[in-house]
């Protein structure tokens, strides 16, 4: 898993870490039960404040993406959000609305937008499959 901070994105640094780990998990680059890098080495590698990484990890923990095992480190959790289904839906709706607003301003019409969503889902699936294959090959080889 490779993280990269972009200071020109205007997104808070801890959120960039949160989003990239979420993306890595969704794409299968990070598997349930797999260990995340420890806070200090990751902070040093990204050259950011250790508290920024700590904040990102505690955010990821509160939304149920990772869990901390005392003395062992942080691990990606099985996909079990602690939030109720309606709340999870609501959170997603907010994000979708934002994308719709963006699409409007970027003059992307409805059909094209829906096609794009479809395509992006396929890309993600493809990525997840290639990570799966890699794992199978490793096991066989």
């Amino acid at each position: 898993m490779l993280l990269q901070i972009n200071y020109k994105s205007g997104k808070p640094v801890y959120l960039q870490v949160v989003d990239q780990i979420k993306a890595a998990a969704a794409a299968g680059a990070l598997k349930p039960g797999e260990a995340l890098p420890c806070i200090r080495p990751l902070a040093e590698e990204l050259r950011v404040n250790r508290n920024t990484i700590a904040k990102a990890y505690s955010e990821l923990e509160s939304i149920g993406v990772i869990e901390t095992l005392p003395g062992k480190g942080c691990f990606l959790k099985e996909n079990h959000s602690p939030l109720r289904k309606e709340i999870r839906r609501k959170m997603l709706i907010e994000e979708i609305d934002q994308a719709i607003v963006q699409a409007h301003h970027l003059q992307v019409p409805r059909d094209e937008f829906l096609q794009l969503v479809q395509k992006r889902l396929e890309v993600l699936e493809e990525r997840r499959r290639s990570h799966e294959n890699l794992k199978v090959e490793k096991r066989e080889g």
Partner: protein, 297 residues
């Protein structure tokens, strides 16, 4: 809910060397656990401000508090709770690195031998070497080790990386700050002055830009990068008249328009969009770019 006493509180600080004003009505407050940047050009008043915190200089106006204490009245208590690395580091030249660290450790209540060992190794310093033979970079490294090992609540660094080569600079920042914060992450406070801002980009939580002894801008780093944006637009022909009075800086070259804004980016973006530009991009400014934009405005 009462908030705990800030690690540092500076109110309307004034200091002049003879008739030359160094600090003029500077105020800032550093919360505990923060990594706070004091950014300014040479002669902006950074060092003078830090010296007032350490009671190396007496404020001529206003007041400074460290952990709520007046450094002039509680000098020992304040100095026990902080470590300071000045911009010019001097050691006794006849002592070795080992002797120097032992000597400095003798003034401290605590000293982490583990941190000392790991930093000596990472900096590849030879404990048996006499300090007279150290390069400027190595001297700074020894000073930093001596500042981190006592595990104080506050670390004050005055231009810690100036005069060091880029490799040492990089390593220093990652290692020293990481090692310092590791012990008690939420409570270790850092005040660092520098004009080499890019290197501290990811470490700084909050900063104050000082110029001519005064505070020009104080912001959280994330908020600053959110507010300060560079907008670039290219039009099919000469850019149309758009109300750009909110922009911090406007540059027009041929068909292109480059703006720097401090807040109000989205509104301005919308206004430009209505003029149908060929291309329109926006990106946040880095802290260094914000520094330059602020001082040039």
């Amino acid at each position: 809910m009462s908030s705990p006493t800030p690690a540092i509180e500076i109110q309307n600080l004034k200091y002049a060397y003879g008739r030359a004003e160094a600090v003029n009505d500077l105020s800032l407050s550093v919360q505990r656990g923060r990594c706070y940047g004091l950014f300014g050009r040479n002669g902006a008043g950074k060092t003078t401000t830090m010296k007032c915190l350490l009671n190396l200089l007496r404020p001529q106006g206003g007041q400074v508090r460290v952990f709520g204490l007046d450094p002039a009245k509680h000098e020992v208590e304040v100095k026990r709770r902080l470590a300071y690395v000045p911009d010019q580091v001097a050691f006794y030249p006849w002592m070795t690195v080992r002797e120097t660290l032992d000597y400095l450790a003798s003034f401290r209540d605590r000293w982490s031998a583990k941190t000392e060992q790991s930093l000596l190794e990472r900096f590849r310093l030879n404990p048996a070497q006499k300090t007279a033979g150290l390069s400027k970079g190595q001297r700074t490294q020894v000073a930093l080790i001596a500042a981190v090992c006592p595990e104080t609540e506050l670390l004050v660094l005055d231009e810690p990386t100036s005069g060091l080569d880029p490799i040492v600079r990089r390593e220093f920042i990652e290692t020293v700050i990481g090692a310092y914060q590791e012990g008690d992450p939420g409570n270790r406070t850092i005040l660092v002055s520098t004009h080499l801002i890019a290197e501290f980009e990811g470490l700084i939580d909050e900063f104050t830009i000082v110029d001519g002894g005064q505070s020009v801008l104080t912001l959280h780093a994330d908020e600053a990068r959110d507010r300060y944006q560079k907008i670039r637009a290219r039009f099919p022909h000469t850019p149309p008249e758009i109300d750009l009075s909110h922009a911090l800086r406007v540059k027009k070259t041929g068909r292109e328009l480059e703006l720097i804004v401090n807040g109000g980016g989205p509104e301005l973006l919308e206004r430009i969009e209505r003029q149908n530009p060929e291309s329109l991009t926006t990106e946040s400014l880095t802290l260094e770019e914000i520094f330059v934009a602020t001082l040039q405005a």
